[in-house]
Symmetry: C2
Subunit: 574 residues, 2 copies
């Protein structure tokens, strides 16, 4: 028998449905209309049809509630949840997100090909549909030591064995614009498949060249002008609302009934606490309707059909015969809050709560890619001989990934440049952790605000070395040692006392614990860091971008200070 035969028999009405949802007001994303109440018949994980007179042993009466396709997050790094795909799914399924386009860029920078394979394996049996894109920038630059490299051949192999669906955000946009061979080779490897963009600030002829190379979307717009520039050139606009980059309110005014079909929603990076407390795409849909007067049908299409079309996913994004039965039920079209969520035909959440057993226990046989976290924390040389009077200092700016390049007098004790919390001058160290090189990059940063103690973590975009910021060397050493002991993670220390720690044994990026426990431990670490004097809402999030050598102006990697605009390493002393 053909695998489709049972579905067709249910569609024809010849055999009972596995589940019937009675009295559903279908949100039809094709026609842009809500249909009168009718019955939806399912065969296992697929929609068979909408009509009446279906037989089934399992019937749920929706009593005229709205039935809408499951939401699609058009671009997300699961790693930012600090959780496994299963625990990420536990967080987003109750929010109605049933498909995510995931870029395993972070884990790939730690363990390379194995990261992508593991993500695929760890996602395969979930009710959440995880569509992996191939990370395009592993490593980001040669000015840091990443854990691994993915070149065009790796990407082609991942596509050939159906592990990846397209190419994830092509962050090296200058490389694309200038036609660099290794970058274009990666685009060629996924030719014909969706290629996601990332071109902050690019415009005019540069943006033309970026689009001409075949890039088809962008999620890095922050101004309406940037958004319009991209829509006009045929790039899908993926509006992002991440924990650390909130563009929804700025960009929604760009959306019109005429261009809405080219707009999608994405979360990019959200902390576990944000996912649990604020939500995901559901939050963006609601805000679009309630705060920006977007027609609910348009808002829902931006969360369903539009991303399905951009990514060429003909099985999701709509409720129609043959499509995957990913379904939300809600009562208020003007403020859609999922009260039931079906994923692959199974009820997985009610009233915002995940059902027991909705997520299968993780397969213990899965080879978890630990990555390395081998740092000589016992005795690292953190001293900085004062070879000059003025130093380059990373000026952290609140709520920005961009830094200000400062030049300040060094505070010198016993011939060494030292942290000086009174001046908010903290020492920053980046310990290479992947290849036992022993590299430690040292520098200073202003704006983090610790009065004493240190924070440290192995979440440090994009190379994810062990980064620490502290008021004294002992605290830095203590925090770093705790993390090395945990095989990666986050820690807060004061002197020789560890105040908080969150082990992230999976690549130094992800916990093996439930998402609520991770959110709690993360909140605890933030509380401790703030208790040490930092005024920042999330000092760990801030720290995690201070080692990212692709975002201007001044950053610190394990190889030293990077002047991003000059794209070169520079001395600490001026």
């Amino acid at each position: 028998m053909h695998p489709l035969s049972p579905l067709l028999a249910t569609a024809r009405g010849d055999t009972p449905a596995t589940l019937v949802l009675r009295n559903a007001r279908l949100v039809n994303v094709f026609t842009g209309q809500v249909q009168p109440p009718a019955d939806l018949a399912l065969h296992q994980d697929r929609v068979a049809g909408l009509g009446s007179n279906y037989q089934s042993d399992q019937v749920i009466d929706l009593a005229g509630a709205y039935l809408c396709p499951g939401y699609i997050d058009a671009h997300v790094h699961i790693e930012s949840s600090l959780c496994t795909p299963a625990q990420f799914a536990a967080a987003v399924l109750p929010r109605g997100v049933t498909t995510v386009i995931a870029d395993p860029h972070e884990l790939a920078n730690v363990v390379g090909l194995d990261a992508v394979t593991w993500m695929a394996n760890a996602s395969r049996d979930l009710p959440l549909n995880v569509v992996l894109m191939g990370p395009s920038c592993v490593p980001a630059t040669p000015m840091a030591t990443a854990g691994a490299t993915l070149d065009a051949n790796h990407l082609q192999a991942l596509y050939a064995n159906n592990t990846i669906h397209g190419l994830a955000e092509v962050m090296n946009y200058p490389g694309v614009i200038n036609g660099e061979a290794d970058v274009l080779a990666k685009l060629d490897a996924l030719k014909g498949q969706p290629i996601d963009g990332h071109s902050p600030g690019a415009n005019g002829k540069d943006l033309d060249a970026y689009a001409a190379a075949g890039v088809g979307s962008d999620h890095e717009c922050v101004t309406p002008e940037e958004a319009r520039d991209r829509l006009e050139r045929g790039l899908y606009l993926l509006i992002r609302e991440a924990t650390n980059a909130r563009n929804l309110d700025a960009l929604l005014p760009v959306v019109t009934p005429q261009n809405a079909r080219r707009v999608c929603f994405c979360t990019d990076d959200r902390t576990p606490g944000d996912l649990l407390n604020i939500g995901s795409i559901d939050h963006m849909v609601r805000r679009a309707i309630t705060h920006h007067n977007i027609d609910p049908l348009d808002a829902l299409r931006m969360a369903t059909l539009n991303p399905a079309e951009w990514f060429g996913l003909r099985q999701v994004g709509a409720i129609a015969p043959g499509r995957t039965a990913d379904l939300l039920v809600f009562d208020d079209l003007q403020n859609p809050t999922p009260k039931m969520v079906f994923a692959k035909g199974q009820l997985v959440a009610e009233d915002g709560k995940l059902l027991d057993h909705a997520i299968p226990d993780p397969d213990a046989t899965l080879g978890i890619p630990h990555g390395q976290c081998t740092v000589d924390t016992a005795n690292p040389n953190l001293t900085i001989p004062a070879t000059g009077e003025s130093i380059r200092v990373i000026g952290h700016l609140p709520d920005q990934l961009l830094t200000e390049p400062l030049t300040l007098p060094a505070t010198v004790h016993d011939g060494q440049a030292v942290a000086d919390p009174a001046r908010d001058l903290l020492k920053m160290a980046v310990f290479e952790r992947h290849h036992n090189t022993g590299n430690v990059g040292l520098g200073f940063i202003q704006g983090i605000g610790l009065k004493h103690g240190a924070i440290a973590g192995t979440v440090a975009h994009d190379h994810h070395n062990l980064v620490a910021i502290g008021a004294d060397d002992t605290s830095i050493r203590t925090a770093a040692a705790a993390i090395a002991e945990d095989g990666g993670g986050l820690a807060v220390a004061d002197g020789e006392t560890i105040l908080a720690r969150l082990p992230l044994p999976i690549g130094g990026l992800m916990s093996d614990q439930p998402v609520q426990a991770v959110a709690d431990a993360y909140a605890q670490a933030v509380t401790q860091a703030r208790a040490l004097g930092s005024p920042l809402a999330d000092p760990f999030m801030a720290m995690s971008f201070m080692a990212l050598e692709v975002i201007p102006s001044l950053k610190l990697t394990d190889l030293g200070l990077v002047d991003v605009e000059r794209f070169e390493l520079v001395d600490l002393f001026v």
Copy 2:
């Protein structure tokens, strides 16, 4: 150097464009807006960018005219133009059609795989972008002798070597609905690619099953209800306006701003005369705007972006960096009539006229698939012994492919049932021409109206045997012999006199002559047929469907009379 490098250099403004179109008001199908005048830069066959300050040796000032993407015909049988792809292109390019989704179903029923390969070869170097779909019903049924068979393995091979892009209209919709293995195998062969539908009259649970199998469009709707049924199920609505099936006026009232994105235009089958005199997609766009009040931007998207999205063609359907430079220029957005057409970056037509040398001379080395046209016309046995008094008669209905099954008394002379023009009872003969079987199906038809003489032709859907309808056997024999001599074609005869002939040596379906010559010869044949007494606007078009055993009710093939509803052969005598 990477093949993209010159395009990127032009996009960046670093090297001159090969062509610049100044002062163009871009019809932006992404945003649904017309942009202020700007300059479009091309690099060879691609769009580099829209802006200003481009350098080029070749500049055309459009003086504020509209610039719109080239039109896409979402479903067409090139064979119905009776011309080669090159001459079909000569007809449609001046109309602004720059891409066609072509189903070589007719030629495939004559010569099988070679037909598809030849169509691909004959289209490759044209300015017209011909996207071939795999014919899904070769042969249509076992109740006629077709020239060839294409099974799922053939289709898979054609896809694997990039000859076809998807599966063309799946006409065996009962086979899909009932899950017949050989039909589903063809869908599986093109899984993940666009699969076009054809499900006249299907609705409710049957239509659910058809959609559930993965079919994604339909162009056979004739009523608004059918159109809405399909849109609601996620099938793209391809509105058809063919020579013999005109659905545009009936279906356009279904289109709303909310559902327009799921609607496309197609011509399916148009005679060469219609293409030259009425036009193609351009005619549908104009009529949608001028007679149905469709927003011009929506109408233009139905002719451009929408079909590009349905078929996943990311290179066409819009004017944007990197896309193919298929462009129309017109002055009146409320009545768009292309005054310039660019295809693959070359100006190919002005003011409705094809430019000299726009179409390359056909490559003489192309192996033209003649097919067979071996019919023993010298001495075929056309006599019908009168074994009863009442006969089944095909009742032709004006402007319909459906026939009425009549039962009438036979006119008997010398023990034989004979044609009786006084009763409008004409003899019909279907000569098998592909395999030298000598099969001749014989029957009678009412409604064609010849008073004397005969018409004949090798265009006879879908098997394309030699069909003839006449008032006497001699005329039938004369017409059939002329066609056999020409290796296929159309003919009109009266007694032993040939009144008109149009040789169609390519598979008995297509001429090797220029489209205007073909249109003229076709018009001449129609004129002669009408001079013999037929009141029909186009007796050849009518005849070509009288042997099609998949459209009810009564049809005649080389194997005999077919009761389509019973799906079996039946006797002539009741």
